[in-house]
Each structure stands twice: as C-alpha cells, then as structure tokens.
Subunit: 291 residues, 2 copies
C-alpha cells in the first residue's frame, strides 16, 4: 500500500506512468517533465478515440457493460504513448476475461484498476485482474476503508502516459466515493469526462454530490450504472433535468432517506473488500447542499 500523496517521484513507477499531486489552482510543473514524450502519431487503425482535441487523438476510450448488475466499466488508454498504458475504472469480476481480452487485442498495457467506491451491487474485478495481469496496481479512495495498492483523495492525479485523471472526493452514496475526471489542458480530452461512480447516475443519483457540478457544463458524465439504457450525459443536462438534483434540500432529503437502504445483490457473500459501517454513512446533506 503506497500513500499516494507522498509518492511524487517514486521510482516504483515507470517514468511515463506516474502519479502527481494535483493542485487545481496552480500550474503543474515538476512531474510533467517526466511525461512530456509528446508523440503526435497518427491514430492507430485499431483504436477508437473520444477526444475533440485539435491534436492527434490520443485517448482510446471504451465503455463496457455488465448486464446483470447494469454496471459500466471504462477502459482508457494513451495510445500515442509507446507503452499504450491503460486503466480500467470499476471492473466487474464476471467480465474480467472480456476486459483483459480487449486490452490484449488492442495492444494496451494495463497499469491501474481503479474503483470509484466499494460496490454493494456487484463484485469488483480488481482482485481477479491483479491475479491475471501481473503488475497492475489497484486504486481506491482512502476514505473507502477498503484495501488497495494505492489510496487517493481530492487533489491527487493518476497519470497513464501523457493523459491523467484528477480525483475528486464525492461522498454521499458512500463516504469513500470519488469521481475521476479527465485532465484539464490542451492535450487532454475535450470535453472533459467525469467517471462518477454512484455519485451521479444519469437522471438520478446514488446519494448525490455537488462538487461535480463545478465542472464545465459540457463535461461528459459516465456513471457506474444505468438502469434505463443511457450511456452518457453531461453536467449541464444533469443540472437541468436530474429529477433528484433539481429538488430543494428538503425534498431531496426525503427522496434520499426513502432510498437509503443499499441494494445488496445475490452475490453478497463475496464481500471481502467491503467494510462494515460504509452503508451507515450519513452524509451531511446541509453541507453538501451548500457547496
């Protein structure tokens, strides 16, 4: 277990695949020098990308679905980097083989398996991935109380090649929920993409969090689940149309209280990574509403 916040120049990481301590208000300086292998290759014929950058596309992005738990797993990779470093967000145990197969086919090197939170409704695939793909590091928030190789919190940055994710704490559904947001910069995906876990679902939310709404309105929202068949939304859309988040505080609290019992799947026996007490977490709605 590596305390991320103090691992700025750790030699444990490949020079081009590392973490930095992200400071949203200040320009990044020290660590980028290790990751500026700018190679504007033409796009791989094998890859699809999702960016609108005027530069050659670098981000390979795949949204993958696990039907039984209606869970989305996200594959991101920097395909302009020689190593094609990749990460998975919220992998599910049942679809690990599918995910690793796609990663192999696309010639990617899986570096990280991230969780947005401890999942009650499905079993994370992180452990299985680590046993099948050696060298992969697991990442989760420290506040989750769960096990992982690396713990993250607000202000941390997860680099894969020249691309990175910012970490934003988004407690509510659980105290340890985080949202991973693609970087802000000319070489990063535009519009930005927010992987919200259960903090915001499209036109709904697990509990809620308003920090996400400080992102630009065109930020794409990719949730951990969807039960209606949506695959993506935007911050602007959810601010306007999310039926829960457009309520005033009292109405919102009533909705949330009535839904506070977590959904436990039939796979509940497999809960090694889950810690007691997470589901008793009662967020401070007052402070959340006033953010």
């Amino acid at each position: 277990m590596l305390p991320l916040r103090f691992a700025k120049t750790s030699s444990l990481f490949s020079p081009n695949i590392l973490f930095s301590n992200f400071s949203p208000k200040q320009p990044r300086t020290t660590l980028l020098s290790l990751t500026t292998t700018k190679q504007h290759r033409s796009q791989s014929p094998m890859a699809s990308s999702y960016t609108t950058s005027s530069h050659a596309s670098k981000l390979l992005f795949r949204q993958l679905f696990e039907k039984e738990s209606s869970t989305y797993t996200y594959l991101l990779a920097d395909i302009s980097h020689p190593d094609k470093p990749a990460l998975l967000i919220d992998p599910v145990d049942k679809t690990v083989d599918r995910d690793l197969s796609v990663i192999k086919e696309l010639g990617l090197k899986l570096v990280y398996a991230l969780n947005t939170h401890v999942h009650a409704d499905h079993v994370t695939g992180t452990g299985l991935i680590k046993s099948k793909a050696l060298g992969v590091k697991s990442i989760i928030s420290k506040a989750s109380g769960s096990k992982a190789d690396i713990f993250v919190g607000t202000g941390d940055t997860v680099y894969f090649g020249n691309l990175f994710l910012e970490v934003r704490a988004t407690p509510g559904h659980t105290l340890g929920c985080v949202t991973y947001v693609t970087g802000d910069g000319p070489d990063q995906p535009n519009p930005r993409m927010a992987f919200t876990g259960d903090a915001i679902l499209i036109r709904g939310c697990g509990r809620t969090d308003f920090q996400i709404f400080t992102l630009p309105k065109d930020t794409l929202i990719y949730p951990a689940h969807d039960y209606k068949g949506f695959t993506v939304s935007t911050v602007g859309e959810e601010m306007q149309y999310n039926p829960r988040l457009t309520k005033d505080e009292e109405a919102f609290k009533n909705i949330m209280e009535s839904k506070s019992k977590p959904v436990i799947s039939k796979d509940d026996g497999h809960s090694g990574a889950r810690k007691s007490g997470l589901w008793d977490a009662r967020p401070d709605f007052q402070s959340l509403m006033n953010l």
Copy 2:
C-alpha cells in the same frame, strides 16, 4: 412513400434537411448548396459530441440501450444547425418515451427514424414515434420489403442539417440490411461511424457483409445489438479479431449455416412490419467473400 432516388430537390423537405443521391467517387455539388449554413458556434453546454474534427464539434451523439433485447438505438443531431435536426437509428418500441424525452430535453427536432433492417428480435419504435412526434419520416431500405415513408439503398445520402449519413447495402442477415455511415468530409465526424445493424456485431455477425470492410480501419462500428457488453468497435479490430469474419469461406459458411435460424422473441406476435421470406434469404456467399 417517396422514392428517394428521384427526390433530389423535393420541396417536401426543409431546405436544410434533405437527401441527396450520393456518389462516392464524385464530388457532391448540386445539393450541398442548400445545406452550407456553416455556423461554427461553440458547443452547446447541453450537448455531448463524438467528433474529432478540428472544427467546432457539431455532432451530438448518444448511444441508448434496450436491455431485454440488448438493442442499441442511436441518436444523432447537428447541434450547430439552428433547427438542431436529429435522427434515431433502430428505435425500440419499449423505449420510445425515453428517447423522445431526451430529444426534447436536448432541444432537438427529430426528423427521421431509420431502421437498418426489419428486426426479428424486437419491435421497432418507428410507428410509435410517428404517432407521438408529428412530421417524423421513417426510413428503411427498399429491399427490406417493409413499409416506410422513404426507401433508401446504396448510394443514397440522408442529410440532417449539415451532417449526413451514407447508405450502404449490407445484405446477409437479411436481404434488406443496410449500414448507415457518417459522411466523409472535413465537416463530418472523424473517425467515421458505421451503424451496422446486424450486419456486423462486435466480435460476431448476424450473417455478414464485407462492404463495411472497405471503410477506413479507424471507422467506428456501432452495432444494433450486443450481448457481451461491448458498445463500440472499429473496422480494423473486427477485421482482425471477429471470430467469424477471420475464417475462410468454407468455415464461415458452416458457422452461418448452423446459425441460420432466426431468433424470434416472445414479442413475435407484433410483427406487422415483417414480411414473409426475409428469413429464407440466402446470400451469395461466394460473391460476398470476393468483394
């Protein structure tokens, strides 16, 4: 019912939302003069787009899922056009209200409901859409033998604002299957996107068709269904990894023959749009393999 191929300048269409007869080898001339309202507005905060064009993004794109039949419906709109004209590909009856709700929320004007083919495994939402959203025109291939307002075939082009789809006949799964491909040009999405219906599924296919493989390798493939949780692939990937399409002719024929019985869902009673004989269609594998 309007025979598209002779409707080049039909006054039935709004000047900015029309069809042209597409000729891949020749520059388009006559009809584009009616659709060159080039407005490089900044992107709407409400919209997400999928293009990598160096121009301001114009295409709003949403992939929508119907879980029971594992069907994808695709929403495309030109959000840089004042009317924000939109179309739906392969809408499902059960999710029409969801689709129309999103269209309304995003401020789009639904113009066309297209089908890639006559669906055996779910009921198209086209008729329901036409009853709920007046003015919407339905589109299907003439070879489908089905009913629609407008029939299309190879070489036709479907305009929505300044964006367009090319029609490519891709028989195999049914004789009437077509693939809709986003346009080729500086103001069109890059990489291109192919809506293949059942002609190619990711790492599988309904029957098959090789015309799709003449598209650039980075063309994104969006199928009508997926049963494994994939949402997108590319031409290059499928050429390399599709387990059926990498077989030689004899092996492929054996696979296809063994799977020639169509899947009929429990909703089969609702089959007004289906015509007898479609499922007896036997493609000429020899000619398809030699394309």
